[in-house]
C-alpha cells in the first residue's frame, strides 16, 4: 500500500524534534560556527530527549523505542532544519549506537550500549572516511585481516566526529580482498586500543565547522574476534552504509528547507527597482523550484528509509535518494545565497554558513548520523 502516513509516534517525535530545533539550535548556530564550539548543555539536552539514542533497549538503560530508519530520517530533517552542524554533533554518536542496535550480538549490546543509553551526551563515532581524494566506501584502504585469533586493523581514518573525546569507535574497514558494500566490516575499537593514535589537533573543514573532527591512525590494532560487530556472523555492510547515507540525506532535506523558509520572507520584503524581488520571476521561480525539489528529496529519503525498515535491500533507493538529496541541497543553499545577494555572503546572516554546511555535508558519505 502506497501511503505517506506517519505513525502517531513518529508524528510526535517529529514535532518534538521540530520544537527542539527551533528553540535550541537556530539561535546559537552562528555563534557555534564562529567559535567552533558546541555547548555541552545543548548536547545533553538533546540526549535527554532521546533524539540520538532512543533506540537503546530499556534493558541497557535506554528508552527502548522501536529502531526505525524512518524515525531517524524525521529527526535528522528537523534537526538539520535547525542547524546541520549542531544536528551532526548531536547525532554523531548514533553512527556508533544504531549499528550496535541493528547488528550487535547480545553480548556486544550488553557490553557497550549502557554507556550510550543515558540521558547525558556520550561521544562515540563511526570512523569511515579516509585520506585520499577518491575515497570509496566499497573499496576502503583501511583493512581488516584475521591473524592469530584477532582482527588486525591498519589504515588512516579522517574527519572522525568527536575523535578527540570518543570512548569507542566503530571502525569501518575492508575485510578480505573483495570490493563492494557487502564486504565492509565494522569493528568496535576503544580509544585506548594499542596501535590507535588520535591526532590531538582538530581537523578543520569549510562546513560543519563546530563538529570536532579527528584524524585517527590504526597501526596493527588487534581487535578481539568478539569485537567485530556481529561477532562471528558479521554485519550486512550494505545495510549499514545505506543507513548512514539515508540519515545524511535527511539532514540535507532539513538544511534545504531552512534555506527556503528564510528566502521566502526575504524575497517579499527586499525591494529593488521599486518592487519586492519576489515579484520578479527570476527570483519567484527559484523559490518554486526549491520547494518542489525539497518535496522530492524528502519523498526519496522516505522511500529508502521505509525500505530499510521493511528489511529489504535498500541500496538502489538509497543511492537515488543520496544522489538527489546531495545535488539539490547544494543547489538550494547556493541559490539561497544568490537571493540574498551581498547579504548572503556576509556572516551576519546564516546563508553563507548553510552553503558551507551543505557542501561539506554532501561529500561526507554519511558519517554524522544514523
Amino acid at each position: 500500500m502506497i501511503t505517506f502516513e506517519l505513525t502517531k509516534e513518529q508524528t510526535l517525535i517529529q514535532k518534538t524534534a521540530k520544537e527542539f530545533a527551533s528553540g535550541e539550535l537556530k539561535d546559537i548556530a552562528r555563534d557555534c560556527d564562529e567559535h567552533d564550539e558546541i555547548p555541552k548543555k545543548l548536547l545533553d539536552k538533546a540526549w535527554e530527549m532521546g533524539l540520538a539514542n532512543a533506540a537503546v533497549p530499556e534493558t541497557y538503560g535506554g528508552i527502548g523505542m522501536q529502531r526505525s530508519a524512518m524515525t531517524s530520517a524525521l529527526i535528522c530533517e528537523e534537526l538539520g532544519y535547525g542547524c546541520a552542524s549542531l544536528a551532526a554533533a548531536i547525532m554523531a554518536p548514533s553512527t556508533f549506537i544504531q549499528p550496535l542496535v541493528d547488528f550487535g550480538t547480545e553480548e556486544q549490546k550488553k557490553r557497550y550500549l549502557p554507556t550510550y543509553g543515558q540521558d547525558k551526551f556520550a561521544p562515540a563515532a563511526a570512523a569511515l572516511h579516509e585520506s585520499h581524494f577518491t575515497f570509496d566506501v566499497t573499496d576502503m584502504r583501511t583493512t581488516a585481516r584475521q591473524e592469530g585469533g584477532h582482527w588486525v586493523l591498519n589504515g588512516v581514518k579522517r574527519l572522525v566526529p568527536f575523535g578527540q573525546t570518543a570512548q569507542h569507535f566503530l571502525v569501518l574497514a575492508k575485510s578480505g580482498d573483495r570490493t563492494g558494500l557487502a564486504h565492509v566490516g565494522a569493528f568496535i575499537v576503544p580509544r585506548d586500543a594499542k596501535g590507535l593514535t588520535v591526532e590531538s589537533a582538530p581537523e578543520k573543514t569549510m562546513g560543519l565547522k563546530p563538529v570536532p573532527k579527528a584524524k585517527i591512525t590504526l597501526d596493527n590494532v588487534a581487535v578481539p574476534m568478539a569485537d567485530r560487530l556481529g561477532a562471528g556472523k558479521g554485519i550486512d555492510g550494505r545495510r549499514l552504509i545505506n543507513t548512514l547515507r539515508v540519515a545524511n540525506s535527511a539532514l540535507c532535506v532539513g538544511l534545504a528547507k531552512a534555506v527556503l523558509d528564510a528566502s521566502v520572507p526575504y524575497a517579499k520584503q527586499r525591494v529593488a527597482f521599486g518592487e519586492p524581488i519576489a515579484k520578479r520571476q527570476a527570483i519567484a521561480f527559484k523559490l518554486s523550484e526549491m520547494h518542489s525539489e525539497i518535496e522530492a528529496m524528502r519523498w526519496l529519503v522516505w522511500k529508502a528509509a521505509s525500505q530499510l525498515d521493511q528489511n529489504g535491500d535498500a541500496t538502489k533507493a538509497t543511492t537515488l535518494a543520496q544522489h538527489y538529496a546531495n545535488k539539490n541541497c547544494v543547489l538550494i543553499a547556493d541559490n539561497g545565497v544568490q537571493i540574498f545577494g551581498g547579504h548572503g555572503y556576509i556572516r551576519d546572516l546564516p546563508l553563507e554558513m548553510w552553503m558551507r554546511n551543505a557542501r561539506t555535508l554532501t561529500v561526507l558519505e554519511g558519517i554524522v548520523a544514523a
Partner: protein, 388 residues
Amino acid sequence: MVDFTFNAKEQEIIREIRREGLVLRKYARYYDEHEEELPPDEFPEAKEFAHIDKMAADRGADATSPTAFYMCMLMHRTWGDMMRMKVPFTALGNASVTAAGTDEQKKRWAKTRLSMANTEPGCGSDSKAIETTAELDGDEWVLNGEKIFVTTGIRAEGSVIWATIDKSAGRGGIKAFVVMKGTPGFELVKKEKKMGIRSSDTAAFVLKNCRVPKENLLGMDPTVKKGGGGFKGLMKTFNLTRPGVAAMGIGNIMACQEFVAEEMAKEGVAVDYEAGQHKRSAIQQKMIELEAELEAATLCTLRAGWLADKGKPNNLEASVSKQKGGDISRRGAQLALEILGAMGSTHDQLVEKWFRDARITDIYEGTGEIQRLVIARELLNYTSKDLT
C-alpha cells in the same frame, strides 16, 4: 506507516496493464505514422483486458488510496503507449461538467464524450484573456470566436466551449457552454499535425453565430461573478488533471528508462548502484540521474493523489507534480537519447517516439512556467495580480 510498496493484487494489476501496454505498442508506430487516422474506440484485444478495471475496484484491505493508485495505473498505461485499449467515454470536457455543471447537467451529459476548448489563437496560458464571446438572445446563447488545440476534438460528440459574456469583467465574465457537433455555426477548421502524441486527435474550431439553448450554460448562472465564478470551476479540475498529466509523462519516461537500462546492460554498461562514484562512467552517472529524477517526479505525483484521497488541499502539490512531471518528460527523454546515441533516434524502436510524445507534458494543462507561478504564489501568499 509510510510505505511505498504495492500489495499483491496491485502488483498483479500493474502486470496486466503492462501486458496490455505491450499489445498497444504493436500499434504505436502505425498511428504515429498515420496521424490522419483515428485509433479505434476499442482495439480487437480489448476484451482480453476488460478485467483490469474490475480488479482495480477491489484491491483488498491494504490497498493504496484510489487516486494515488489511479496515478500509478496511468503511469504504467502510458508506459505502454499514449493510446488506450479502450478509449474512455469521458474526456476533459466532462471534467468541466463535473466541476461546473448543475446536477441536471451532470446527468444529461454523463455518457456524452465532450472535449474542452479554452485555448485560442491569441491566448493559452492566460486563459482569462479569451475573446470568444457569448451573448444571450432570447432563449439561446450566441457564440462567436476561434478555438484551437482541442484534445479529442475530432472524436468527441461535443465540446465545452469557454467564452466571455462580458469582456470587461475579466475572469468573472467567463462561462462554459456545451456545444454539440452538428450545431449550425460550430465548424471544424482542421485537425492539427503534431510532433508527437499523434494518436491523440487535436482540433481547431470556429464558432460563427453558433446558437445553443440556454440550458447549455454550465451552472446555469448567467450573471457576471466577482472573483472567478465559473472560471474557478475550470481551475478546480486542475487538482486532478495536473497530476494525471504528470503521470502520463512519467509513464513515457519510465518506458525510456527501462529501455535504456535493458539495452545498456546488453552492451555491458549496467548501473552498479553501490559502486563508488569515482568508479561510475559518465553514462552510468547519467543513468542514475535519469532514474533519480524519474523517481522524484513519480513520488511527487503519488503524493498529490494521496493528499486528494485524504481530503486535504492539494493545489500546491498538484502543481509540484506537474512541474516535476514536465521537467522529467523533457530531461529524461533527452538523457535517454544521449545515453543511447544515434541508434536511439531511429525507427528501429520506439524511444524516439517517446521522446516526441513526452515533450507535450510541459506544455498542456499549464506550462512548466505556469506551474512555477502557481507554486510561487502559494509560497509567497501572492495573488495572480501580485505575481504575473
